[in-house]
Symmetry: C2
Subunit: 453 residues, 2 copies
């Protein structure tokens, strides 16, 4: 086994240029799910990449964007499932990119493109592992399935029902999540759960058209003010969400969770440097409490505000309409439907019945047991490849559709991949380090080999 | 005199097509002062239009956009000063215009274009009156001066100092303001004062770049939330401005003011229909109090909000930066410099030292005495032309640089012009009614003729 693994590792390195060429073609295909740009074309490209490896691949319709399922048989009866998504975030603001987001460019050992780290690099990384295994041993050691969706960046609205109705086809013994990689200390890292999300748009319209602010300022209702006051009624400046019952279903961390959190490295200095954070919220200092707060409490984040005149200089206008995008991250056992209902009631009760609440995206939170044997296997193989202990967090700050995998497929979920803290996911100059692509593919290959036994 | 005036009135009607052609050329020249688009070209065009009438016209530099001064001698020793501006508001949102804003189009007896009512139609209207007078009597009955600035839509930042330093050149016995016209009842109307303005941009930057909301939501400061909370500290939902001392210098209306307000027609129904207002603020019902509130109290209006993702769908981002445009309308004897200083102190005192306050535009409020003989002359001539009593308001809701005229030139200020409540000033589909262009020019001609005596 060690010799076989070494051969596979070497093969992955040797194939790097070919892998990056293929990944560049994938990143050159826009697939902005929230805007419906290039989605179908990207699904077809991904299916074709699977078929070139001998997978049976099908593009399944959903009420939203299609899901690609790929399947290939291997020597043992065990089945490993890879979850990925082919869709990407919008590339705006375009002027902050050093090279165009859909023209993949290698600079300083990194490949820059929208989606290269989230999540197309991970698709390519898994295919690189599979290619190397097949080139070295002529076959796959176990069955491998892929489920690659096209709505992850919209909150995977179609995926839970799709997984429920395709549970038999997707049956597996374990799952590797769409992302993975190293932390700011170059340690391989894994998260065992994801927060849910309840992403809403609040909108107010008080007038049928904008009006001169000198005319209406004293006597007409102002949508922007209504929005500001409604938002202020949702969270106070001490970061406390004011919606009654918001915290009711929040599960407190276990002793094991706190142990995992205590063992995580301190990333606060890295965050300060990278994002220019002066002070963490609530006066939190670096340590276990800051890390707990970062992933195990629910949030209420304003992601966008829009009203009236926004260009340079002055326009003396009273805006007819105002809106905000608000992103709540949820922890077990909060649910988006419950939270949006409580939000609506709260606004109504505080005299903000004129504020419309639209749920744009909802996902439930879910977790994998830290003591599952598959989690140990993923951590052990990471040590082999990275020569460092794997850092394991009980939860991630971000969200994903893991609830459906846990609930309908009953699989433990581990991580392996190409990400690092400088990946700039969801931001301008998204990138992937080529050295971490190699490591991620090697880790994936080790997982497949050991899992198959 | 009646015969002479009838001849002049008829001549204005006969010249209408020529006047509208000239006005269309003027409106086709963009002159968006706040964006610096087409400003110089428009100043030259306006100066040329004056010279074609035998005016001496000069384009004077200022620290901002140039001021055009025109001067022509007439029979009597009296001097009438016309104040206008050649700049216009930005045309956005473009998609709501039925014809392009800088391609003047006549439809249903109206000319549509950005600036056609505010303020280029008024320039053309005055020139139409002057043309007719000269065609009929061969000369001007009094001296006429024009001051036409290019920064009115930015709050006339250069004008007060310009007027102060050109006070001798601009010396006059009375002034006609840049705007005038009829109210929703087709009554000629005049305002005797203007609120001041203190237009600020509030901006907050908490991070050096946007960050994934799943990563930073619980622990990073959010510029959009900081902005929302800061705004909430400025005005409460009962419309009370919370800045200490904000109301200190507010002059209460006199008995004469209240009498003028009581005599004004009720425009509340028209405002409801035009702007879709459901309820006026503070539960005000139609009547003198609503009219007093509309023009004689100071305001705090949010004119714009900007943060993070504003397009369709979702983007899970925590914005690094957020900003708001806030428009305070001031009444005598508030001053913009004082208000902005009080605002800064207030934000600082409430823990919002991270919110930057930039004064984008400031103008002082000022008024003309309702009992000045020139005001009576303007009202009497309006009755001749419109066959209706002139409606006189002690103040306008809007702002303008009248303080400098009152303070440095000591002129009474009256109104005559082409506007009506459907002009859509500062909004899409700005327009001017051709019949009101004729009336406005006739009223202007009558003012000139009677003033000269």
């Amino acid at each position: 086994m060690p010799n076989l693994l070494s051969e596979i590792d070497a093969r992955i390195e040797r194939n790097l240029e070919r892998s990056i060429d293929e990944l560049s073609r994938l990143c050159a295909q826009p697939s902005i799910s929230t805007q419906g740009v290039g989605v179908r074309e990207c699904a077809e490209l991904v299916a074709e990449m699977l078929r070139q490896r001998g997978f049976r691949a099908a593009i399944h319709p959903t009420p939203g964007h299609p899901v690609v399922i790929g399947e290939a048989a291997g020597r043992s009866g065990k089945t490993l499932l890879f979850y990925n998504h082919y869709d990407v975030q919008p590339p705006e603001p375009l002027e902050l990119w050093d090279s165009p987001p859909f023209e993949p460019t290698v600079r300083e050992g990194k490949l820059f493109a929208r989606g290269v780290s989230d999540d197309k690099g991970h698709i390519a990384c898994r295919l690189a592992a599979i290619d190397a295994i097949k080139e070295v041993s002529g076959e796959l050691p176990c069955n491998i399935k892929f489920i690659i969706e096209g709505e992850e960046e919209m909150g995977s609205p179609s995926l839970p029902a799709f997984i429920e109705s395709h549970a038999e086809e997707l049956k597996a013994d374990a799952c590797i999540w769409e992302t993975g990689g190293v932390n700011f200390r170059e340690q391989p890292s894994m998260v065992l759960g994801m927060r849910g999300i309840c992403y809403v748009e609040l909108s107010v319209q008080c007038l049928t058209q904008d009006v001169h602010s000198g005319l209406g300022g004293s006597i007409f209702p102002n949508a922007a003010w209504r929005l500001v006051w409604a938002l202020s009624a949702i969270k106070d400046s001490r970061e406390r969400v004011l919606i009654p019952g918001f915290y009711d279903d929040v599960e407190q961390p276990t002793a094991r969770d706190m142990e995992l959190l205590a063992n995580l490295p301190d990333s606060s200095g890295d965050m300060r440097r990278r994002y220019g954070v002066q002070e963490f919220l609530k006066g939190l200092q670096p340590g276990t409490e800051l890390r707990r707060e970062a992933v195990m409490v629910p949030t209420c984040t304003i992601s966008g505000l829009t009203a009236g005149y926004q260009a340079k200089g002055t326009k003396t206008v009273l805006p007819a309409r105002a809106s905000a995008k608000v992103d709540f991250r949820l922890v077990p056992h909060q649910s988006p439907d419950d939270i949006v209902e409580k939000l609506r009631k709260h606004l109504q009760a505080h005299g903000f019945g004129d504020v419309q609440v639209e749920l744009l995206s909802g996902e439930k939170p879910a977790r994998t047991d830290p003591d599952h044997p598959f989690i140990k296997l993923v951590a052990d193989t990471a040590l082999e490849v990275y020569d460092q202990e794997m850092s394991i967090s009980p939860m991630a700050g971000g969200s994903g559709p893991n609830h459906a995998f846990v609930h309908y497929l009953h699989v433990p979920i581990g991580s392996a991949g190409v990400s690092y803290p400088g990946s700039q996911v969801h931001a301008p100059n998204e990138n992937m380090r080529l050295d971490l692509f190699v490591k991620g593919a090697q880790h994936t290959a080790h997982i497949i080999q050991r899992f198959a036994m």
